[in-house]
Every structure is written in structure tokens, then in C-alpha cells.
Amino acid sequence: MKKIVLALFSGILLFTLQSTLFTLSPFNQFRPDLILIFILLLGLFYPPLSGGLIAFFLGYGMDLFSGNMFGLYTLSRPILFFLAQSFKNHLYLERSIFQSLFVFLFSWVEGLLILLLLQILNPGSWEALLSLLPSIYLPQSLSTALVAPFFFRFRRRRSLYLVSEPNLGSGEGRS
């Protein structure tokens, strides 16, 4: 229970940083999505029930404080969490480059999912959204990917709130 509460408050702290400190930068489009990295880490190193609920709660929070009315992140964040869970035994994430690549790819999976959902829920916005991909989404996903290895390193050094499961994310699949 203590670990869940700690993980939840870490998520809220990252959310607060993302919506306050990181928005002060003049290069706003290079603002990394810290919550995405956190949820992917939860997906790799956290049990499905509590991790899924935290991903759901953080996604819900993002929806509340963003300019969308649909609840896109409430859906996409648990999906990303469970995707990371399903792939965790098939990924080699020992080196920074692979960690960055993993986060970058998942960031685009979410981006495309959101585009698809918006096209279904709000038809006609496709053109405006597509133009945001290179100008807004690409810089954000790149900066998120660049920041990701620091989070992986931090988790390795101090797995205070994350449940340690040896060999996860090292590419050793369970048979």
C-alpha cells in the first residue's frame, strides 16, 4: 500500500512539474512528457492491477487539466501501461539508446491512437491535427525520449517505490 501511495504521489509530482515548471521554458514544444515515461516505467516494473489503476488515475488527471473534453488520456495511458506490460519480457532496455527508442516509439503509438480517437469523436479536425505532428508532437516525443534514460537510471539506483523484479526489461523472455 505504501508503495502504491508513493508511486501515485510521484506521478502527481511529475504531473505538477509538467503543467507548471516545464511550461515556463521558451521552447514549449520541447517539453518532455514526464508522465508518459513514468507510466511506461510502471508498465515495465509494476504489478498490473495497481500500476493499471495509477496509469488510469494519471490519465484522468491529464484529461481534466487539458483542453479536451473526451477523456482521451484516461483511455490511452492504461493502454500504454498494458502494452508495456505485455512487451516487458521481450525488450532489451539496458542501454540508454534502447530506452530512448522504446519511449519514443510508445510516444508515437499514443500520438497515433489519440489522432484516431479524435478523428472518430471530432470529425473534421484531422487536417489541423496532422499539421501538429511535425511541429508540436515530434519535438515533444524527441525531448521525452532524450529525458527517458535519466528516469531509467534513477529507477535502477533507487527502486524506492517501484517493485523490483529482476531480469525485467533485459530482454530475457519468460517461456
Binding site: 515556463l24 514544444q29 483542453g67 477523456g71 508540436i136
Partner: protein
């Protein structure tokens, strides 16, 4: 049967299905939602907002400390006393300047508020959109202060946006640069009517601007006062680009908003519905100095 669902193989699948089903139900409920937000949403807005409020306060304090003091820490030992005094004075000076700047902003806000004969509430920006796709701000005023969904948010520089979600003491404003935003507008010089739509980046464009209308780069775009949310004559932005295709009824014009959203700290929320006066050509609201 019970043991089948509780078995390890099906546990994850059941959790995935339940969570995603719940998310989909929430999504479908939100699509139909007409009012501000539901009870759970407003509870969560109230839960998250103090963190944002605290962090914004903390970062502003750190920022002012950084500019006022930290640049002066590399002082030589023999001059420490003297330089410490300078640092203290610098910090005091910086604080005074910050106070003066804040006072000036608030004075402008008050002056602007007095120039408009409407019921308004001043609010502070405590957070910004955590996502890349949307453009919104979190304000420290909510339903208790008379803020409702759809009400207009302005600043002395011009139009900011419209309230999208409301909690008891906090609200979310959708900026005019968000691709979902639309504000009824007109070109100040030629009175040509159009809709200002957001692009999702830090600029907007004019939709439904007739090809026959004469507009040029640098023209000021103002609110038309037709939608009921915004009073007539508030500056929105200036035209920076015009594209005239050979065919079609409309022309395309881009504009840069008057308000710099990255530096916005205080705003005014119009809490009463504005009733548009009969149109008078050439008469617009006075811009504050």
C-alpha cells in the same frame, strides 16, 4: 468459473478489459455532457489544483531568487561583506521591481476592468496544459466565484479564450490558439466578418473570410460581439499572412494573437452574459494604455 477468472492467466486480461471499458464509458458520458464537469471531475480538479498552485508559487519564488541573488554568489572573499550588501540590495531591488511589475500589471488589469461595464472576476494562472495536443490554462477561480462553462476570458492585451471546465474553486480555460476554439470576429479596418480559429500552435487563422473582402498584413482583428460571450471590439490579433487561391469563395489569413500566452499571469473572467449592442460602424471599445 470463479477460479477461472481469478486464475493468473485471466487476471491481467480481466483488469485490462475492466479498466478500458470504464475509460470508454467515461468517454461516451463526456461526449454527451452539457454542463461544466461532474462530481468526480470537480473533486479531482480540486485535488490536483493545490499542487499546481503550490508549485507555481514555489517556482516563481525560486525564479526571483535566482535572478536576484544567485548570479552574485561568485564573489571574491575580500569583498564579501561589501558584495553581500550589494547582493541584498540587488535582491531587494529585484523584489521591488517584481512588486512594481506585478502592481503595474494589476493596475492595468483594474484600469481595463473599469473601462468595461461588465461583471468580471480577476483570476490567476496556476497551471498550463499538460499535453502537447491542446492549449489550456488552469485558473484559481471557479463556480463559487460565478465562473461558468463558456464564459469569456480576457486580459488587457486582448482575448484569451473561453472557460471549458469548472470546479468549485478552479477552472480550465481553452485558449484561442487551441484547434477547437472558435471566436466570432471582424477586421477592425474593413469590418469584414470571419471566425478566428486556433491552429493548435501559437497562432490562429481566419475562417470564412470572403475573397471579396479587402484585408492586408498588419490589420487588427477584433471581436464582433455576435456570439454573446465576448464584448464587441476586444483585440484578438494582427494578420501576418494572407493566401489567396485562384478558386473558392473564401481567402485564408493567419494571425498572431495579441496576448502572449506564455507570459500570461493574470486574467479577467466575464461572469455575466454579454448582450451585443446594435452595430455602430467605426465605433470600437477603447484599448487600455
Amino acid at each position: 468459473m470463479r477460479s477461472l477468472f481469478l486464475s493468473r492467466r485471466y487476471t491481467l486480461l480481466t483488469i485490462v478489459i475492466l479498466l478500458l471499458l470504464f475509460a470508454l464509458i467515461l468517454m461516451s458520458l463526456r461526449v454527451k455532457q452539457k454542463s461544466g464537469v461532474n462530481g468526480l471531475d470537480s473533486f479531482l480538479i480540486e485535488f490536483y489544483s493545490p499542487f499546481q498552485k503550490g508549485a507555481t508559487f514555489l517556482f516563481n519564488e525560486i525564479k526571483s531568487l535566482f535572478y536576484g541573488y544567485l548570479f552574485l554568489v561568485e564573489l571574491e572573499k575580500e569583498n564579501r561583506m561589501l558584495k553581500q550588501k550589494i547582493a541584498r540590495l540587488e535582491r531587494e531591488n529585484q523584489e521591488m521591481r517584481a512588486l512594481a511589475s506585478s502592481g503595474e500589471r494589476l493596475r492595468k488589469l483594474l484600469q481595463f476592468r473599469e473601462s468595461l461595464s461588465m461583471k468580471m472576476v480577476a483570476a490567476e494562472v496556476i497551471g498550463r496544459d499538460p499535453t502537447a495536443w491542446f492549449k489550456s490554462l488552469t485558473l484559481n477561480k471557479g463556480e463559487r466565484d460565478g465562473v461558468q462553462r463558456g464564459t469569456a476570458v480576457i486580459s488587457p492585451e486582448g482575448v484569451v479564450g473561453q472557460i471549458l471546465k469548472t470546479g468549485p474553486s478552479h477552472s480550465i480555460v481553452l485558449l484561442i490558439t487551441d484547434y477547437n476554439s472558435a471566436v466570432d470576429a471582424m477586421v477592425e479596418r474593413t469590418r469584414a466578418k470571419a471566425i478566428v480559429k486556433g491552429t493548435g500552435e501559437n497562432r490562429c487563422y481566419l475562417k470564412y473570410l470572403l475573397r471579396s473582402e479587402e484585408v492586408s498584413i498588419g490589420d487588427q482583428v477584433i471581436t464582433s460581439g455576435l456570439t454573446g460571450n465576448f464584448p464587441k471590439g476586444l483585440p484578438i490579433g494582427k494578420i501576418t499572412k494572407i493566401e489567396n487561391s485562384r478558386h473558392g469563395v473564401f481567402q485564408h489569413a493567419e494571425l498572431i494573437p495579441q496576448v502572449d500566452f506564455t507570459k500570461l499571469e493574470e486574467v479577467l473572467i466575464i461572469t455575466e452574459t454579454f448582450i451585443s449592442p446594435p452595430p455602430e460602424k467605426g465605433k470600437i471599445m477603447k484599448k487600455p494604455k
